[in-house]
């Protein structure tokens, strides 16, 4: 029997599109309609890890789930300061269990945000965030700025659903009713859809933003003719575009957070938007990558008070990015075991951190094999959230949505796996 499921959520990127149509036949997904290439590739699925595995004499050997849970528990109990990392591509419910686990074992919990929009969060701590939901932008924005982000490749449906090409109440004509400005170091696919593309030198975002703030603050005359390689008159023109918009929106990406200046770039951009509100209406939003990286920050914030990099070694939450964030913990060898869930630090962290992972016991929970598997001592395959398991995820604008279960599976969900590990830990502790 073929089952058509409407309004499915796509669990790929921070757009969290909720209008996907999926055709299920005999418990298998046959067709995906309405998703982008990234989303359909994920929903259609591919090679899975077949069985739990434990590394013996250098090789991963298939074992039962109970053995894997017990081994994982032993690793975590004997560690002095374990790291629980990932969380951006699983449900909020899984992270809730993870936080409980971190509390009980005195571990440190960090999300992939620290190597993504972590600096954006630090910027928000400095300045606050002047934002909105995506629908507000779709209905009102007549100027869209993409700064250091490339939705054409990273968030393919963003422009059509929410931003430059969307139709809304006060912008019924869609793309024609909006101006699009792209600021980047390279001419990306997104830049080719822009009315105006401003190319800047790598690592000069801070200077450019500062110059725009000065122009908007009426101090254009104090600026030199050339700012970090950009003519002043170009920036005056861009500042005018911003001030003359009825509703402007800046979307920014890793171009700001990964470059020289890091959180200061974001801090400056947030200030620019705050100041623009003295002239017109303006909002700003981070283009969050993983579908639930926003939710990971939300769950951590309401549970611990902090949105990432939370260390429970002292019994109470302690937060200090640069000290309790994954990269720093690994490169300083401040952790001695790692549970990696729904992420791939072996690919996405600098080599120096990956080498540290190679020196400690690693537990991996993931539906799929990835380079982190090469370093794992215990591998626990899980159900795919949003396809095989229900749960909650938060879109890049902070809107929470419920993920559906589309097909049955024999794999346990992340929540079930974490609960089983927790049960094993409690049992081990009771035995001692």
């Amino acid at each position: 029997m073929i089952l058509q499921i409407e309004d499915v959520l796509c669990t790929f990127c921070g757009c969290l599109c909720d209008d996907i149509r999926v055709e299920v036949n005999e418990g298998r997904i046959e067709k995906v309609r309405g998703a982008c290439r990234l989303g359909s590739s994920k929903i259609m699925g591919h090679n899975r890890i077949k069985s739990p595995m434990i590394r013996k004499d250098g090789e991963l050997v298939e074992v039962g789930y109970e053995d894997a849970y017990r081994r994982a528990a032993e690793i975590l109990v004997s560690a002095k300061h374990p790291l629980l990392y990932g969380w951006a591509s699983t449900t909020c419910e899984a992270l809730k269990k993870g936080i409980l686990l971190a509390e009980e074992i005195g571990g440190v919990i960090d999300t992939t945000a620290t190597v993504c929009h972590g600096p954006s969060i630090i910027g928000i701590e400095e300045k606050g965030l002047v934002g909105s939901t995506l629908g507000q932008i779709k209905n009102r924005a007549d100027l869209i700025v993409f700064w250091g982000c490339n939705p054409s490749e990273a968030h393919p449906r963003h422009t059509l659903r929410y931003s430059s090409n969307a139709c809304g109440r006060f912008v019924p004509e869609g793309r024609k009713g909006r101006k699009v400005l792209v600021i980047d170091v390279r001419e990306t696919r997104t830049a080719r859809n822009a009315d105006r593309f401003l190319r800047i030198q790598p690592g000069t975002d801070y200077e450019i933003i500062s110059a725009l703030r000065m122009i908007i603050g009426g101090k254009a005359d104090s600026l030199p003719e050339d700012i970090a390689g950009v003519p002043r008159k170009d920036l005056i023109e861009i500042a005018d575009m911003m001030k003359n918009a009825k509703f402007g929106a800046i979307f920014f990406g890793l171009g700001l957070t990964h470059s020289r200046g890091r959180y200061k770039n974001v801090d400056n951009a947030l200030s620019l938007v705050s100041e623009l509100n003295s002239h017109t209406k303006f909002v700003i939003m981070a283009m969050r990558g993983h579908y639930n990286v926003t939710g990971a920050g939300q769950v951590l914030a309401w549970s611990s008070g902090y949105p990432m990099a939370v260390d429970y070694a002292r019994g109470a939450p302690y937060y200090n990015p640069g000290e309790t964030s994954c990269c720093d913990l690994l490169s300083r060898r401040d952790v001695d075991a790692a549970l990696i869930i729904a992420s791939d630090p072996a690919s996405n962290l600098p080599r120096g951190c990956v080498e540290a992972l190679g020196e400690m016991p690693v537990i991996q929970i993931d539906p799929f094999e990835n380079p982190t598997t090469l370093f794992a001592d215990v591998v626990i395959p899980s159900a795919i959230a949003g396809i095989e398991a229900e749960g909650t995820a938060y879109r890049m604008d902070g809107l929470s949505l419920r993920l559906r279960k589309l097909v049955d599976t024999e794999y346990p969900s992340d929540v079930e796996i974490l609960q089983a590990i927790l049960d094993n830990i409690r049992r081990l502790r009771d035995d001692n």
């Binding site: 309401w302 008070g305 809107l399």
Partner: protein, 566 residues
């Protein structure tokens, strides 16, 4: 369980400090009972506290937490055998909210403002708040569908939408914040009076407020409309307050309660033409409440020190950020609202803050009927709720007020009437303002009193009302009220000697209001178009699912007379 020998205050049942035993069976107050005996000889016993207006869950809370790691560092308490770790002072984590309310002897707290589209998040946080029963009011004041129904003068469709919205949000009541202003803020402007039209919608705040009030009564909702006035926080706004209340005078309540509850009255009782000649108009407002019977208020008392302002009144937060040179978060919510969060500090030597502090107390002391007043700080806007014992001791002691005023800017004497107020509230009046009145105002029939069948939510304090003189012994009052000797929630001892000993999951209240099917169908066909064209999510993904209320308590209401109450 039997609570023996306490001095019981249960003003809803005409008990004003009598020595008596309280029996608890199956989570309710009973005629008699066996089991555990709690020795409360000579101690102050009252129903569990009810907070009718507090910001405890939802996106704006997390916005506050995320932008204020400095605040999270305050109030850190490690995990215990019973408790998860606590953090924060003005924006505590979810666990701290539950534990701290319980330690104060509070057993119920209602979140005051949730946009429908973000209600799922609110419920995710409510689920994580231990011990207390809770609910959330739902925002309707700048909603496109609401404004279109009002413009078309179609109250049938509006009633259907409000009922549907409460169901979608699993909400408890109709909250209106700076009506129309949230929409105007979508393009960076605001509405300046109740008769200032909302751009693009051809309605005025006055029309929105009246229509929602009428529909609220048509739906026989347990709570009245819950209103945050236009022009809140601005000098001279007391005229807006009275003008707005006058709009609602002729509306008949459908239940034994007010027609409008005014949120954090303190922020709307301001005189003056600007900050320089800012002064209290609390006496004018209190007179109005003394002469009318359709409105109730909560105080929104300020507490000196740090606060975090958070409200759906986004233009106000913009102004706060500019005045205070503070970091500013804003969050516009498609088709429904705007909102903002700004950290704040109330300072004793700041003239405006000193007068604000006096206004809250004046309102409580000059309004004759305590049933019209709920003690709140509009947590965390006026300051965190953990300071309620401070307010109680101020209301009970003129001496304490005098001592405090000596530490404040001198304008507190010339620009408020507080120095001349002699009234000192007694325990019954405190119990009314913190228990009985908020429960009645919210329409929580089983709370705020200790009659047979009421929820067994009881607080017992290490205060001997027959030995203590609160007027003089205000320090003891504050200390005693800060750490309940016992807090009993639903018949379970959750606090003993000021420490949490159990953390059961509370209930979440929401209102399911029935409307005629034809009205609902008519409303839904118009609403579907909103989702097709304007919302950024699908209608089928919009409503809060059952999974987000693990322990729901459904209150039935509706257009038709009620056949059954479950």
């Amino acid at each position: 369980m039997i609570i023996k020998g306490g001095i019981v205050y249960d003003p809803a049942n005409g008990i004003f400090g009598e020595e008596m035993d309280i029996c608890i069976e199956n989570g309710r107050i009973a005629e008699d009972a066996g089991g555990e005996v709690i020795d409360a000889r000579g101690l102050l016993v009252m129903p569990g506290g009810v907070d009718a207006h507090s910001h405890i869950a939802g996106p704006k809370l997390n916005t506050g937490r995320i932008m204020r790691p400095d605040d999270s560092r305050m109030g850190t308490e490690p995990r215990t055998r019973v408790c998860r770790p606590s953090t924060g002072y003005t924006v505590p984590n979810c666990y701290a909210i539950g534990y701290r309310y319980a330690r104060l002897g509070y057993t119920t707290a209602f979140e005051a403002a949730t946009p429908i589209i973000e209600a799922r998040h609110t419920h995710e946080e409510l689920e994580e708040i231990p011990i207390v029963d809770k609910g959330a009011l739902t925002l309707f004041g700048s909603n496109w569908t609401v404004m279109e129904c009002v413009r078309d003068n179609d109250l049938g469709r509006l009633a259907a939408y409000v009922a549907w919205g409460l169901r979608a949000a699993r909400g408890y009541g109709v909250k209106i914040v700076n009506p129309g202003g949230g929409e105007a803020w979508g393009f960076g402007s605001n509405v300046k009076s109740v008769h200032d039209p909302v751009p693009h919608f051809d309605v005025t705040p006055a029309q929105i407020i009246r229509a929602l009030a009428e529909v609220n009564e048509r739906l026989r909702l347990p709570h009245s409309i819950h209103l945050h006035f236009n022009n809140l926080g601005r000098p001279g706004n007391y005229t807006t307050a009275i003008e707005t209340l006058e709009l609602l005078k002729d509306i008949k309540p459908s239940r034994m309660r007010q027609v409008v509850h005014v949120a954090h009255m303190q922020f709307s009782a301001y005189g003056g033409t600007g900050w320089k000649d800012f002064e209290s108009k609390a006496s004018v407002i209190a007179d109005y409440f003394n002469q009318t019977n359709h409105a109730t208020m909560d105080l929104g008392q300020i507490i000196f020190g740090p606060a975090t302002t958070m409200t759906a009144d986004a233009p106000l937060e913009y102004a706060n950020a500019r005045i205070g040179h503070q970091k500013w978060s804003n969050h516009d919510i498609e088709l429904e609202e705007s909102s903002g969060v700004v950290p704040w500090v109330y300072m004793r030597k700041m003239p405006v803050n000193a007068v604000q502090w006096a206004i809250g107390l004046e309102l409580a002391l000059l309004t004759r009927d305590p049933w019209k007043v709920v003690m709140t700080t509009d947590h965390p806007n006026g300051g965190p709720f953990v300071n309620y014992p401070e307010i109680i001791s101020l209301l009970m002691s003129r001496e304490k007020r005098e001592e405090e005023m000596k530490t404040l800017h001198e304008v507190v004497r010339s620009r408020s009437t507080l120095p001349s107020i002699e009234r000192e509230l007694d325990w019954s009046e405190i119990v009314i303002m913190t228990r009985a009145a908020p429960a009645r105002i919210l329409g929580l029939e089983d709370k705020g009193h200790l009659g047979i069948g009421a929820d067994a939510d009881v607080s017992i304090y290490n205060i001997k009302p027959e030995e203590i003189d609160p007027s003089k012994d205000h320090a003891e009052v504050k200390a005693g009220m800060s750490r309940a000797k016992y807090t009993i929630k639903g018949g379970v001892v959750v606090v003993r000697d000021g420490e949490i000993v159990a953390a059961p999951q509370g209930r979440t209240y929401w209102v399911d209001a029935a409307v005629p099917e034809s009205e609902m169908d008519r409303m839904l066909s118009a609403l579907k178009e909103k989702f097709e064209r304007y919302y950024s999510i699908r209608m089928s993904n919009y409503m809060v699912q059952d999974a987000y209320l693990s322990n729901p308590f459904v209150v039935r209401a509706g257009v038709q007379p009620l056949k059954e109450v479950i």
